[in-house]
Structure formats: C-alpha cells, structure tokens
C-alpha cells in the first residue's frame, strides 16, 4: 500500500531568513501514530503546516494520497484540507461562539458559502456534531460559550471539530503543551482512540519524550530543520536523547504544571478599558 503522505526534500525559508526546514524527506504510513519531537524552533510546527499547506514550502513536495499538495490550486487545496483534521496548542476555538457552532465549523469545507452565511446546517451535520461532542464527553456543554470551558475541555472540542471532517489524517500541533499532566493524558487518550478505533493516521508534535514513548508507534526527531532520528519510540536511549536535545539536556518525566488561564485578547482588554472609562479617546476630546 502506498504511504498516506510522502514528503520529499522539503525546505522552508521564512522571509526573516529563518531556515525552518532544511531538506526533510519521509513517508507516513496509514494507521501510524507518528510523534514529532525536537526543541522549540526545530521545525515541528512548520512541517505539520506544510502537510495541509497552512504554510507554503519554499521547495520540495508533499504528496497526500496521490495528490501533490504543493502544486494544488486553491480549490484543490481546500479539498485536501477537509480530509485532514488539525488541532492546536492554543485550541484555536472561536472563543465567543458556542461549543456547538465551533464543532459544526468542522463541516465548512463540505458546505456552501450561503449555508454558512444563513446559519443553516444540514440535519446530518447537527446530528454528527452531537455525536462527536458525546464522543469527547462534553455534549452537555454544547451551548456554552467556548471560552467558558476549561483548557482540557476546549481541546476536546478541538478534536470534535476535527472529527467532523471525517479525516483520514489528524495533525496535532503540541496539543497538550498548554495543559496540566492529568489533562494531557486524557486528551492524548482521545487521540489514541481515534487512531486505534477509527484508523485515522495521527501526526502529533510533543514536548515530552515520556508522552512520545507512551502513545507513539513511531518517533521522528527534528533538529535544526533536519531529521535527527526516525524509529521506534523505545529506541531513544540516553545517547540519542543527547543528540536530539543537546549535551546539557536532562530528561524529565512530564513538565511542571502549567496554568490553563488564557491570555486576554487585545480586543477584550480594549473593551474592558472602554467600559472602565480608562480608554484614551483618540479624538482628543
């Protein structure tokens, strides 16, 4: 069987001159749970975003199920994107919208623009939204505002949104980096479940090697935009670890507990200042 994703000589140089990817080639097989590790800035996020072309690579090719993603036009790229789900470190939900409409937005790629503008989801999409919310255990919160949920719950909404696409591939960009250890495992277990039960191929970047060993079927380490390791998770010993993370690195089991508090957006801050009367009037009156 041909690989689901085939990446060849991928290079990405940002306008700032940063060489995020420096010749990456790899094949991703169907059904894999591929974990990307590496230091911050090693190119994990860029590699993930080149697969669904949220980032345009400078050179090289990405083939998804026989389709050249790097050469696809606007319509073709949208057809590829809707077959690839994605979840994010900051969850990237529309915070002011309800959980339900966030989940429903996973179907946008399959629905016409007028349906979006008229807010007329199909009956089957509504049913699917509740089914997926039930799967991640938050159907009761369907009509809450997305930002009223805890970080772990928001990430589960993100998973439900991606599942709406009925994806063949799931990209996860540090999905648990903003979560505490206990919540991290609950989110990772949902990813494991969709990988095992639904047969969805998962490509997931992670900070912690312990999580990579526990959930990955294959680990790829990036260093300075190149592949530094490609193999089974348990093949990463002390020596390999130092190669990937540098001589001074120490392995930790799972990081310090992090706050789930989300930063206020600039608009929220401006609104609050305006309500408090502390906003500076630009008219000078």
């Amino acid at each position: 069987m041909p690989p689901l994703v085939s990446i060849k000589d991928l290079v990405k140089v940002y306008p700032s001159g940063t060489r995020a990817l420096d010749g990456v080639s790899l094949d991703i097989q169907r059904g894999e749970f591929l974990v990307l590790i590496g230091l911050s800035g090693s190119g994990k996020s860029t590699l993930l975003r080149c697969i669904n072309r949220l980032v345009d690579p400078t050179s090289g090719t990405v083939i998804f199920d026989g389709i050249d993603v790097t050469a696809a036009d606007r319509v073709a790229i949208r057809r590829v994107r809707r077959r690839i789900g994605m979840i994010f470190q900051q969850f990237n939900l529309v915070r002011r919208s309800s959980v339900f409409s966030n989940v429903l937005s996973g179907r946008l790629g399959y629905r016409s623009t007028w349906r979006t503008i008229a807010s007329r989801p199909t009956a089957s999409d509504v049913a699917a939204a509740f089914e997926n919310l039930g799967r991640v255990g938050i159907a009761q919160r369907a009509y809450s505002r997305a930002d009223a949920l805890s970080g772990g719950q928001q990430q589960r909404v993100g998973i439900a949104r991606a599942l709406m696409q009925k994806p063949e591939l799931m990209l996860a960009d540090e999905p648990v980096a903003s979560l505490d250890p206990a919540t991290s495992h609950s989110v990772m277990k949902y990813l494991e479940e969709i990988n095992r039960k639904d047969g969805i191929t998962v490509v997931c970047s992670l900070h912690f090697l312990s999580l990579a060993r526990r959930y990955g079927t294959r680990v790829i380490a990036l260093k300075d935009g190149r592949i530094a390791f490609d193999g089974k998770p348990d093949a990463i010993d002390e020596k390999r670890f130092k190669e990937i993370y540098g001589e001074d690195a120490e392995e930790v089991e799972i990081g310090p507990e992090r706050s789930q508090a989300q930063p206020m957006t600039a608009n929220d801050a401006a609104l609050r200042a305006l309500a408090d009367g502390t906003h500076a009037d630009p008219s000078g009156r």
Partner: protein
C-alpha cells in the same frame, strides 16, 4: 552610602552621586517652567480687573430662575418644533445621524486600514498606509472647524452640523474599528482555514464573532461623544439647541439659557450613564 558600592567595586548609582540641591539638571528644569509661565502671563495679558463680582452673582441667580415659557410655543407663529424640548430631541438626533453616517463610511474603510487584513503584497500595504494616514488627518481637524467650513456649502443649520460631526467621526471610528480588526486572535482563522473552508467562510465564522462586540461598543461610545458635542455646534451655526442657547445669552434671557444648560447637562449625563451600562455588558 556611596562607599558601599565603591568598596565592592560596583558602579555607584546616579542618585548617590549628586546632591539634589546642586543638581543643575533639576534646577534648570524648575527655572524653565517658571520662565514659560512668566512669558505666558506677559503674552496673554490676563486682565481680571474688569470682573464685577456683584453683577456675576446676579447673573448666576438668573440662570437658576428658569424660564419655562420656552417649553411651549410662545405665539401663534410658533409650533412645538420651536420649543426647547423639541430642539433638545433634535440635537440628540444630530448626534445619532452623524454617528450613523460616519459608521456606514468607516466600516468598509476600516478593513482596508487593518494591517493584518492588508498584509501580503505591496499594493494592499500601500492602501493600508494611505487609509490610516487619511484617518489621522481627518481626526486632527476639530469638529467646529469642519462645521465652519461646511457653512460655506450648506449655510447655517443642521446640515452643516451633522456632516461636520460625521466627517470628524469617520476618522475616529475608522481608527477604532481598524485597531479592533488588527487585534483579533489569528488562531481561529488558522483553524477554520485548516478545515478546508473558503475565504468568505473563514471571515464569517472566525473574524465576525471576534469583532462584533468591539464594533458595537466603539459605536455606542462615539454616539455618546457625538451627542455631547452636538449642543456646541449651534455656537458656530451648526444647528441644534446650541443656536437657542447662544441667542438667549445674547438677548440677556438668562432664565432661558439656564434651563437650556440644565437640559444639556441632564441629557449628556444620561447618555454617559446609558452608554457605560451597555458597554459594560458587552465586555
């Protein structure tokens, strides 16, 4: 104290190096302020010698002896449209109409003046720059000056007032709207794009929910400000209740002037309160 630092080979903080009484920078600063104040007094020649306290007290008394005859038609040629309460309503709507007109123009321009929307190619970036400079220039011309200029076109009256107020407001609202668009969270845009949605769907689902509340909030805030400015317009011929206030003072009708001032103060305070309450709920 300074020895503590020198003994340890550390640089001595500037606060410890200088005696504040002999610090020439501080003394120069004080001298400069005094000089400006002295020169200012000479130039402006403020003369309080002609103030007549007894006369002033008399006028202030009259200001509170309200003349309620202005609240109804005074002769057979006047209708309710000539009464003070109607003029007050008219003035409030000068502010409302000015806000509405400027909103319709500022709304589309704001998208062209938002850096994150216009990023990408040099042409759109140039448009962004032109729009923002235009907003700044418009904003820097005071409302009263715009109204005076518009008198040439429309003559004295509500038209000059409304359009003068609206013109200035385009600059203010445009800037506020643009900044609201610039400060949206880009994360949801990326996520919705990743689902395979087209550009219109992305804007509709991820951008609009983020900007509606700031837009409503800024618009109500400017409505409040415009209603506050509207009574002043009459002083330069921009219509509204300000015209009546100006006339009653020139005709020494202080009882009428006092009542009009009270109505304006009451209206502005009420607007201020209502607008603050609405904006608080929008956060």
């Amino acid at each position: 104290m300074a020895e503590y630092f020198t003994a340890r080979g550390l640089p001595v903080p500037r606060e410890l190096q200088q005696n504040p009484l002999t610090d020439w920078r501080k003394l120069l600063g004080i001298a400069l302020v005094l000089l400006v104040l002295y020169v200012g007094l000479q130039i402006t020649a403020i003369d309080t010698g002609r103030a007549n306290v007894e006369y002033a007290v008399g006028i202030i008394r009259q200001l509170f002896d309200w003349d309620f005859s202005i609240m109804s038609p005074r002769d057979e040629f006047e209708t309710y449209r000539d009464t003070a309460w109607w003029k007050m309503i008219e003035t409030i709507f000068l502010g409302v109409m000015a806000t509405a007109f400027s909103m319709v123009i500022a709304l589309p321009l704001a998208f062209l003046g938002a850096r994150n929307i216009m990023a990408g190619n040099p042409i759109t970036q140039a448009i962004y720059l032109v729009i923002r400079v235009m907003f700044t220039i418009i904003r820097s011309i005071d409302v009263l000056i715009v109204v005076i200029v518009l008198l040439v076109i429309f003559g004295p009256g509500n038209a000059a007032g409304v359009f003068g107020l609206a013109f200035h407001n385009i600059g203010v609202l445009g800037k506020l709207y643009s900044e609201a668009i610039e400060s949206i969270d880009a994360g949801p845009l990326e996520a919705i794009t990743a689902t395979g949605a087209n550009r219109t769907q992305v804007v509709w689902t991820a951008v609009l929910p983020q900007i509606t509340n700031p837009f409503i909030s800024f618009t109500i805030y400017r409505l409040d400000t415009n209603v506050r400015l509207a009574p002043i317009l009459g002083l330069v011929g921009g219509g509204g209740i300000g015209t009546d206030l100006f006339q009653s003072i020139q005709l020494f009708q202080y009882g009428a002037a006092g009542l009009i001032i009270f109505m304006i103060v009451f209206t502005v305070a009420a607007m201020d309160f209502i607008s603050a309450q609405i904006r608080k709920r929008l956060v």
